[in-house]
């Protein structure tokens, strides 16, 4: 009896299989419910998730500086003062006078320009002075990131620009002369 039961169960399973999975008339696969699934992804205008940011907390985090000067804090810097700060807080990594340190030179010397692969520095490669300010303020010195006052950052920036021979607005290397944006959209050409 048990054996018969078992056999019936198997038969039933096989019949069920064939009923549910007959090849379709187009011979493209097995029959299944082809009713299209209607996607009703109702995206509301707003989920109402998140809280409003206050002007104070935005100001606390918004430390970036753009090439047009947007974001620069009030203040000014003097190369002579920056030179002293540099010797104290930066020279260990970037070398005395910003040349030849273990973590990249920042100042280009005359002899560097004659090399096959001159080291990229603020003087020969950085297109914007604002980037110098922004980066020093957010990430330097490496061992004490974000520890400098705005005034110290202005002084250091002034020093690096002077040391690289970039004086005033007359000798500025800018994006228009050095950098080109990538406008490649793919295709066979090697670029």
């Amino acid at each position: 009896m048990e054996s018969l039961n078992s056999t019936l169960l198997w038969l039933s399973a096989i019949v069920t299989f064939w009923v549910n999975f007959l090849p379709d008339s187009e011979g493209q696969g097995w029959l299944y419910d082809k009713t299209p699934v209607v996607v009703r992804d109702t995206f509301p205008a707003t989920f109402g998730i998140g809280r409003a940011a206050t002007p104070v907390e935005i100001a606390r985090l918004d430390i970036d500086v753009r090439p047009d000067g947007k974001g620069l804090p009030p203040g000014e810097g003097k190369p002579t003062v920056g030179k002293l700060i540099f010797a104290q807080k930066c020279a260990a990594c970037h070398g005395v006078g910003g040349v030849g340190g273990p973590n990249e030179s920042l100042v280009t010397t005359a002899s560097e320009g004659t090399k096959k692969r001159p080291e990229k520095t603020v003087g020969n490669y950085w297109p914007y002075a604002t980037t110098v300010f922004d980066y020093i303020r957010r990430a330097m010195p490496f061992s004490e990131p974000g520890s400098l006052t705005n005034e110290e950052v202005y002084n250091l920036t002034a020093y690096l620009l002077t040391a690289n021979g970039i004086i005033d607005e007359k000798a500025v290397i800018n994006a228009q002369t050095l950098f080109v944006p990538d406008d490649w959209k793919g295709g066979p050409e090697i670029k």
């Binding site: 989920f47 940011a53 970036d64 753009r66 047009d68 295709g187 066979p188 670029k191």
Partner: protein
Amino acid sequence: MKKILRLNQLTTKLSRRAMLGGAATAAVAIVQTAQGKSVQGSISVAELLPDDPTKRVGTLAGEVGTRSSFEKLVKKPSEISSRSPLQDFYGIITPSDLHFERHHAGVPVIDPAKHELLIHGLVDKPLVFTIADLKRFPSVSRIAFLECSGNFRTGKETMSPQDICGLTSQSEWTGVKLATLFREVGVKPSASWFLAEGGDAAVMTRSIPVKKGWDDAIIAYAQNGEALRPEQGYPVRLFLPGWEGNTNVKWLRRIELGDAPWHTREETSKYTENVKGGKIRQFSFDMDARSIITFPAYPKTVEKGWIEIRGIAWSGRGKVARVEVSTDAGKSWQLATLQDPILDKAHTGFRYLWHWNGADTEIMSRVTDETGYIQPTFTQLIEARGSDGGYHFNPITAWQIKSDGRVLNRPER
């Protein structure tokens, strides 16, 4: 005899300890002593490795699985990065603990309960999202590669795929579409770029075109089914499919919408490359198509006869269209078989069955992506760039097969 109740941790110093001649510790486990007391104790290789595994009950179920102590997969760290062991992988998903690392001031420790993402600038409503907030939004997952754009090294025969281009890895990334958050804050039509800022000590920033944010950017909080690894930006990172690794800002704390790029340090003094005419290319976001044979490759050796050549290919501009393999130093090329799934902007496996007659030769692969771009040779790249290295260098990589079975990199310079 100690009864092993739970295996906790495998040490990686197995071989060194074994060489020192002491009792080699293979694992730290919860064990039951002869008196029936459960204690934490070390287990030697001998205890874990019976002559006949069918005659000994194994370790009981544990809380966290571990890699077999016989498998020695390790990343290769330098001072600034750590490279994935591409030659040790068999599939397209990189185990999360072996995903390459690149960061600019170390891996921060961030409490997810305190971390927030601020979106402000050219938006209708500046908003702050907690990690819990981000997880409430509709989510999205996709499998895609992530590659550092400074991912080419050469110069020695004894270099493995890990050494040459180990700064590429692949995961399933899960998070909320940035487009969803853009709608929530109401990005103004005048916004054309956004700044992504990390919450690490580098407070790293990159400018990204807003279009990418609408297209397919993900604010990712998960990787391969679990929370991001700390090295990958825990608790939240920007993920930009197909774009150079550096733009995928980790430990994301702020997004500012603006009408011009910021020209940050990373996108001016770094992550720019020479092009013809003495200019320097900037904002080169897309990763060019690339492939590499990961077997056979140094340091493996081969035997005469049938060899299945295996590798991965990928493109930041779409799907892999085909991969060709040469076994005669580039004189002729044969189509390799692509392994499903062939996904958009994803590492794709390829295989080519080769009968090696035992003579010296060179083998190499080249990929063509769906835009028609064919992976170039090193010489072609130098011609196009006017420099012999730098960012976005993706040349064909050749392996020398020596008659004694050694497989060596063919240095390009």
